[in-house]
């Protein structure tokens, strides 16, 4: 009786393992770079947190239209923000599609975003923080 119970319990454990396999390696990280109008920086910082992003760096920047061109076109605002976000590889595509949608739908929300692969990080705790993944 006990042997049958143990066999059933062990089969149940095995089937659980097959149906929800753990990844063999922890997910890689990418650097997501987003360039938006400066007035929208806080908004995009908040939106990106929904993609398991725990660390972001926001910098004041400027677009490169020349002074003469700006005067000619009547542009007053080339003030930009560059946001560096560390994001897991498996959330990156989804985040890019989401950003693309926001660039086209939010007023004054036009921007550019791209990802750069990261090759390494030191420290398990740091990795877990950056990836929001406890493994």
């Amino acid at each position: 009786m006990n042997l049958r119970k143990n066999k059933k319990a062990s089969e149940a454990r095995d089937s659980k393992r097959v149906s929800s396999p753990r990844p063999l390696t922890p997910p890689k990280l990418k650097l997501l770079v987003t360039v938006v109008n400066r007035q929208k920086a806080e908004l995009f910082l908040g939106l990106l947190q929904g993609f398991d992003v725990n660390m972001q760096l926001s910098m004041a920047a400027q677009g490169t239209a020349s002074t003469e061109m700006r005067q000619m076109l009547g542009l007053t605002d080339t003030d930009k923000a560059v946001i560096f976000s560390v994001i897991r590889e498996d959330r990156a595509d989804e985040a890019l599609r989401y950003l693309d949608d926001k660039f086209h739908t939010i007023k004054n929300g036009k921007g550019v975003a791209f990802t750069v692969p990261m090759t390494g990080v030191i420290g398990v705790a740091i990795y877990q923080f950056l990836s929001n993944y406890e493994g």
């Binding site: 004041a60 920047a61 490169t64 599609r97 950003l99 693309d100 550019v112 791209f114």
Partner: protein, 109 residues
Amino acid sequence: MSAYPYEVIFCIVNAGYSETAMDAAKKCGAKGGTVIHARGTANAGAEKVFGITIEPDKEIVMILVPDGLTDDILHGLYREVGLETAGQGIAFALPVDKVVGLPSGNAKA
């Protein structure tokens, strides 16, 4: 030819030279860039040994370019704002996986 469709060039120059850097990049095919103000650090001992002074106020020009233009733009930047010019610039390129937000007709995610 890189395996990545786009690359991002970071060009770090002395403050005031970002427009020169951008003009050089545009001559080689770049469409535009973003300028970030920064502060550089230098090893005081190395400055004495090599007889140069590093200006702390910097501008970082970030330019997204399709693969294939990177080499020309890096050469152009070296000529106009390289270390031996007043811009004292260095430039390097990083691979870019995917891009969104560029004008239509360009690579997407």
